[in-house]
Symmetry: C2
Subunit: 129 residues, 2 copies
DNA sequence: CAGAATCCCGGAAGATACTG
DNA sequence: CAGTATCTTCCGGGATTCTG
């Protein structure tokens, strides 16, 4: 008891989490939460992501069935990305985690600051004499 | 509307997720969910983690105030790791995500397999003639 | 506009050896 | 037992260039 997961299940959970836990996936999913978006629209909204990483992130999410890709063969080309049903079903647990994150970020940052103060990197030997 | 997050909040969420979304943190947190554990106990339970990464992961979680470290100055040394209140409060949203992950993993793997079948890497030119 | 291809660097992480 | 130290390898990801 205590841990009600088998090791295999833990790894699976870890696998999914490292899937969406990469640098950009969550941002993309959240940005697609309301409505479909086009490639450069996503790029602008997220800000700071390279087109390469956006492409790779979207490919990964598409591969996992979380995002659908619709290309219109027009000129200039237009591609819409949207959450699939599976992707939308992830939105709720993700928001729960978001709520936790937003609500507890102050605590985390405080703990971090205190930890760093106690394990002073250096400059302490000179300062505290 | 649609996206009820500001960009800054999205990034914060992403930050926390990349914190716990690394390769091992979630596993450690879940393993500590039931009861405190000792270092090598965690190592054995998780399996496949190097002592280096376990140390770093635990340090990170301790720094963020999610895990507490208690060292008993005995010989041989004994160190207990446990979730803090903050860490325990993460357990619930994490379990929600776990539930989603476990429940939807078949779908994800199916989507993945199909995607890979359609975008056949190579060896198809020779096989399908 | 929406990518694909290439180059490149820094950090993540494994393996190994040593220690209080 | 519970780490630290070092070395090395691998790959995530940025910048840039080219295309349909």
């Amino acid at each position: 008891m205590g841990c009600h997961y088998h090791a295999a299940e833990c790894k699976r959970v870890g696998g999914v989490l490292s899937r969406i836990g990469d640098k950009w996936s969550v941002l993309v999913i959240i940005m697609l939460g309301g409505q479909p978006r086009r490639f450069n629209e996503l790029k602008r909204l997220i800000g700071g992501i390279s087109q390469r990483m956006l492409t790779l992130t979207l490919r990964g999410l598409e591969r996992d069935g979380l995002v659908s890709r619709t290309a219109y063969p027009t000129i200039p080309p237009r591609v819409d990305y949207a959450l699939t049903d599976l992707g939308r079903s992830l939105l709720l647990p993700l928001e729960r985690l978001s709520t936790w994150a937003v609500g507890n970020l102050p605590r985390i940052e405080a703990a971090r600051a205190q930890f760093d103060r106690q394990n002073a990197p250096e400059t302490m030997a000179a300062a505290d004499t």
